[in-house]
Symmetry: C2
Amino acid sequence: MDFSSKLLENAVNEMSQLPGIGKRTALRLVLHLLKQPKEHTEFLANALQKMREDIKFCKSCHNISDVDICEICVNPNRNHHIICVVEDIRDVMAIENTGQFRGIYHVLGGKISPIDGIGPSQLNITSLVEKVKSGNVQEIIFALSSTMEGDTTNFYIYKQIKDTNVITSSIARGISVGDELEYADEVTLGRSIINRIPFENSIKNN
Amino acid sequence: MDFSSKLLENAVNEMSQLPGIGKRTALRLVLHLLKQPKEHTEFLANALQKMREDIKFCKSCHNISDVDICEICVNPNRNHHIICVVEDIRDVMAIENTGQFRGIYHVLGGKISPIDGIGPSQLNITSLVEKVKSGNVQEIIFALSSTMEGDTTNFYIYKQIKDTNVITSSIARGISVGDELEYADEVTLGRSIINRIPFENSIKNN
């Protein structure tokens, strides 16, 4: 693209560094900002910079938090002996929205992915293993997405804690509630048969 | 969405003010910035703010420009008697890319759109009419998109300059080169028949 302004070109180039934002979309967004009052751009730029500079992570579960220990980790009404292992804050938000989990979380910050250059040392794995070895944990629930990277990460952690007394579990994979069987992929359908549950349990959850 | 951090929530809220960016996408983009080195966010924020603060518009054609009079308007090799009227910089870039136009532009900055509260006074129409009345213009080419707003804007300008000696033209509407007739919409196909051109001209352009 041949811009008539370096300022515009810079803004578009920086914007198009974001994932899923191409040059055309970036130009559309930047031109939108130009049509808005100056304050809009200022608020956006400040919010991003302040977030990036001052963001903190909970010292216990590593979730994003404005305080040292997050709301969930300080809540005495939650079961601190059950830890749900997730990839990032989006998973915490999704599980919290269900209202079905009263334990606490451990946020890994990613999955082991050699292709992307992410090894175990870049994730919050050591602190999880330490928590388990301290003896205060009853159950670890693996709730990573079931991709190759997710499975690898689960297994890497599992190997380090399997000799402790902790119970390990994985969230159930199966047909989504309301989905038609015929459209489900084979692997999911296959797993949902192997991992079938007592009928009484399936009624209980409704 | 229930965020565990006000800083994160602010950043997501500001990001989701951009057109076509919902809360989920905004969260994904912001989390991406969190995983990148701090400089990335700084560069983005600075580029946006600097652009919004310092951007200038060409005093002649109103296109975005870092100098008082833009490159196109100062170029002596361009025909300053033919003015192509467009909505914004994206149209200038698109037409420049074709390499088919050697005149100059006049950027309106939008289209008349009562629904969006945009009247003629918010667009760069007066300066265009003045240019025409100064007598230095031979031809005005209307190149706004052919929507109701585009047609209204064209007609509004046309009424003010129709008593001068200027030639007014509109870019050709028709079937895209390479498109199948059967998939063309009726209005476009109809216009392409009414506004047919001598066969020799159609060969010349290939």
